[in-house]
C-alpha cells in the first residue's frame, strides 16, 4: 500500500481554517465549535 506523507502534499493557495478557528474568535465571529452565535466585528 502506497501512503503519502500528508505534510508534503500541496495545500490550496487559499488557506482556510476550520470552523470557529482562533482567527475568527478574535473578532467575535463564530467563536464556539459547537454553536454558531455571534456574527460580525463587535
Amino acid at each position: 500500500m502506497k501512503i503519502l506523507d500528508i505534510s508534503k502534499l500541496p495545500e490550496l493557495k487559499t488557506r482556510v481554517g476550520i470552523h470557529g478557528s482562533a482567527r475568527q474568535q478574535e473578532v467575535g465571529g463564530v467563536f464556539c465549535a459547537g454553536v454558531v452565535i455571534v456574527a460580525n466585528s463587535y
Binding site: 503519502l4 490550496l12 466585528s41
Partner: protein
C-alpha cells in the same frame, strides 16, 4: 469554587436541589410552549425547504415579537426570583464584549438575545488601536437592536464570498457608511458581502440576533482594519470541519477500511473540504485515492482544487498514465 452559606445549604439539601431542577424544567417547558417559540419550531423546517430568505422572514417575525421577548424574560426572572439557583434553561453564550442567551437553536437557524457592554466594547476598541479587523461571516443574518446604546456603526462591503472563492479574489473591503445606531433598528446583513463594526457606544446595547447557515458561502473572511486587505478565511461549515477532523483521526489510525467515507467527502459542497479529504485519502491509501485525484484534477469546479490535484499528480505519480486507472467503486 467558593461555597458560601446559601450554596452550601442548597448542595446539602437533596429536596432543594430537586426543587430547583423541577423549576428549571418547568421554565424550559413554559418557554417552549410560548406561541412564538412554538410557531418558530414548527415553521423552520418548511421554511428551510424554501431557502434562507424564507427562514430569515420567519426569524424576523420572531425577533420583532415584543410580547414573546417580554414573556420569556419575565418567566426567567420570576423563576430566578423564586429560587436563586434556578437559571434560565437557555444556553448561555459569551465572548469578551457580549453575553447572550440562545432562544432558539436548530441547524437551520439560531436566535439569541444578548447584551454588548459599552465598557467592554471601549476596552476592546482601545486595545485594537483603531485597527479593528472586519469580519464577514459568510452567512445571512438579522439584527434587531432593542437598545442601540447610542453606538457608532460602520457598515462594510467586500467582494462576494461565492463557491469559487479564492484569496486573490478576496480583494479589499471598503466602508459603505458610518452612522449612529438607533433604538429598535433592524439590520439585515448578507455576511457573504456585508459586515458591520461597532466603533463605540454610550451605553450597553441589547439586541436580538438571528442567523442561518443556509446558502452560506464556503468561508467566512477577515480583513485587516488598516490596510483593508483580506487576511484570513475559515470554514462556515461546522459539521464539515468536524468531519475533516474525523478523517484525520481515521487516517492517523490507518483505517483504510474507511476509504469509502473519504471518497464520499470528495463531493463535499465546499472546495476546501474536498481538497482536505483528498489529502487525507492520499495519506491513507494513495492507490485508492489516485483515480479520485485524477477526477479532481480534470473536473473539480474550483480552480485551486484542480491545480493542487494536478500538482500532486505530477509530483507523486509522474509515471502513472491516467488510462491505467479506473474510478474506485467506493
Amino acid at each position: 469554587m467558593i461555597v458560601n452559606q446559601p450554596l452550601a445549604a442548597w448542595l446539602a439539601d437533596p429536596a432543594a436541589r430537586a426543587a430547583t431542577d423541577s423549576a428549571m424544567r418547568s421554565l424550559a417547558a413554559g418557554i417552549a410552549r410560548t406561541p412564538a417559540v412554538d410557531a418558530l419550531r414548527r415553521g423552520v423546517g418548511p421554511a428551510a425547504g424554501a431557502g434562507a430568505t424564507a427562514v430569515l422572514a420567519l426569524a424576523r417575525a420572531f425577533i420583532e415579537d415584543d410580547a414573546m421577548i417580554a414573556a420569556v424574560m419575565q418567566a426567567a426572572i420570576a423563576a430566578a426570583a423564586a429560587d436563586p439557583f434556578c437559571r434560565p434553561s437557555l444556553r448561555a453564550t459569551r465572548n469578551e464584549v457580549q453575553d447572550g442567551l440562545l432562544l432558539f437553536s436548530r441547524p437551520e437557524l439560531v436566535v439569541q438575545l444578548a447584551v454588548i457592554g459599552a465598557d467592554a466594547l471601549a476596552i476592546k476598541r482601545r486595545s485594537e488601536a483603531g485597527r479593528a479587523p472586519i469580519a464577514f461571516t459568510g452567512q445571512r443574518s438579522l439584527f434587531r437592536f432593542l437598545k442601540g446604546g447610542g453606538a457608532s456603526l460602520s457598515i462594510w462591503t467586500a467582494p462576494a464570498i461565492e463557491a469559487g472563492f479564492s484569496a486573490p479574489a478576496g480583494g479589499r473591503c471598503r466602508l459603505r457608511e458610518r452612522r449612529r445606531l438607533a433604538d429598535g433598528e433592524v439590520l439585515e446583513l448578507d455576511g457573504r458581502r456585508e459586515s458591520f463594526l461597532l466603533e463605540g457606544a454610550e451605553s450597553d446595547l441589547v439586541y436580538l440576533f438571528a442567523s442561518t447557515p443556509l446558502e452560506a458561502g464556503p468561508v467566512g473572511t477577515e480583513y485587516d482594519g488598516e490596510s483593508l486587505e483580506l487576511v484570513a478565511a475559515s470554514s462556515t461549515d461546522d459539521a464539515g470541519s468536524r468531519t475533516q477532523m474525523m478523517l484525520a483521526l481515521l487516517r492517523s489510525l490507518g483505517r483504510s477500511d474507511a476509504a469509502p467515507l473519504f471518497a464520499e467527502q470528495l463531493s463535499a459542497p465546499h472546495f476546501h473540504a474536498r481538497w482536505q479529504a483528498m489529502r487525507e485519502m492520499l495519506a491513507l491509501d494513495a492507490e485508492l485515492a489516485l483515480p479520485h485525484l485524477r477526477a479532481l484534477a480534470a473536473s473539480d469546479p474550483h480552480a485551486e482544487v484542480r491545480a493542487a490535484a494536478a500538482e500532486t499528480l505530477a509530483a507523486f505519480f509522474p509515471d502513472r498514465p491516467a488510462i491505467q486507472e479506473s474510478p474506485c467503486p467506493a
